[in-house]
């Protein structure tokens, strides 16, 4: 239920009010367009996440298997030692990109997959099992990085969508109806005043006629 605003019932106000309604309407339409675009982008991100998540989790599971095999054969201590010695030089190149005003991360991969020598654990414990485990985890890491980026985008889009939706609703259900109510009120009052003036004029005319 909209409450009318307190505004003087003049013709000037009527014109201003019509302009305000037009502006609010325009704002509403544009924000709706933005909402639709956000929903489209979100849908796309979700579709990609579903795919990416499935692949990443499958690879991660493979990696864990390779690791437990390595620990079983080589021994936990040896494996942990290699883990400590491995070169920890994985780097990600992250910048930002912009979707309709929201900043989201953009990741360009530096080479995550390395060869045995580059990995750095001491040669005497080098075993193919260890290399295998390392390789599977490198692959998993690459996929997980991609997934993390997609999720960051989806969360940012969803949050912006929530904000935009609230604004669209505020315009559609509160502001614009209120403005329209006020418009109706002013038009009614102006009408009344016209009629009052008309009746008054008639009475004055009648009095003048009588005086003659």
């Amino acid at each position: 239920m909209a409450m009318a605003l307190t505004v003087a019932p003049t013709r000037m106000e009527l014109i201003k009010l019509r302009q305000r309604i037009a502006l609010a309407q325009k704002g509403h339409d544009l924000l709706k367009d933005k909402m639709d675009a956000l929903i489209m982008e979100l849908f796309d991100a979700l579709r990609r996440i579903q795919d990416s998540r499935a692949k990443a989790l499958e690879q991660l599971s493979k990696a864990y298997s390779a690791l437990s095999e390595c620990m079983a054969v080589l021994g936990t201590l040896e494996t942990m030692q290699a883990a400590r010695e491995a070169k920890k030089d994985v780097q990600l190149n992250i910048s930002t990109r912009n979707i309709m005003g929201i900043q989201v991360p953009l990741v360009e991969f530096r080479d995550i997959e390395r060869n045995a020598l580059a990995r750095g654990y001491s040669l005497h414990t080098t075993s193919s099992l260890l290399d295998n485990a390392a390789r599977e985890f490198e692959r998993a890491l690459k996929l997980l990085v991609g997934l993390a980026e997609l999720e960051a985008v989806a969360f940012a889009l969803a949050r912006e969508l929530e904000k935009t939706k609230r604004r669209v609703n505020a315009l559609e259900y509160i502001l614009i109806p209120r403005l329209k109510e006020t418009l109706k009120f002013i038009m009614m009052r102006l009408d009344e005043i016209e009629r009052e003036n008309f009746t008054r004029l008639k009475r004055i005319k009648a009095i003048i006629e009588e005086r003659r």
Binding site: M40, N98, M100
Partner: protein, 129 residues
């Protein structure tokens, strides 16, 4: 109340670039990006730049300004958008397999989706009111 609406409308396009960059300039930069009006950075993906360089003749590389604007104008109708610019419409027309009329191209929601999927960083939404 009006101030709020005007403020919101002003904010709609604040993510747009201060200045666009040509395809050639972007290709030759080690870190192709543009600065946005609200002080942020928008990076252009190399993958997309290379794709664009392949579908355009070299003479057009200086003419294509990035990012390509997808103009959302409510008066066009629900979900419709406009692409403007000679080379811009050429590129979009090729991707969407659509004929352009002069140097303008109107595209519809499913086509916008395809375009955004293909060029997520080299296209940007632009609100017109």
């Amino acid at each position: 109340m009006d101030r709020l609406i005007k403020f919101e409308l002003g904010r709609l396009n604040i993510h747009l670039p201060k200045r666009r960059i040509s395809l050639r300039a972007a290709l030759s930069s080690p870190q192709p990006q543009i600065l946005t009006k609200d002080g942020g950075v928008h990076a252009l993906k190399r993958e997309e730049l290379e794709f664009l360089s392949k579908i355009l003749s070299e003479s057009d590389w200086d003419k294509l300004q990035l990012p390509i604007f997808i103009s959302l104008e409510p008066k066009l109708g629900k979900g419709a958008a406009r692409i403007m610019g000679d080379v811009e419409t050429k590129v979009v027309g090729q991707i969407l397999k659509k004929e352009k009329i002069g140097s303008e191209l109107i595209i519809y929601r499913p086509e916008v989706a395809v375009l955004r999927r293909k060029l997520p960083t080299t296209t940007q939404y632009f609100f017109v009111w």
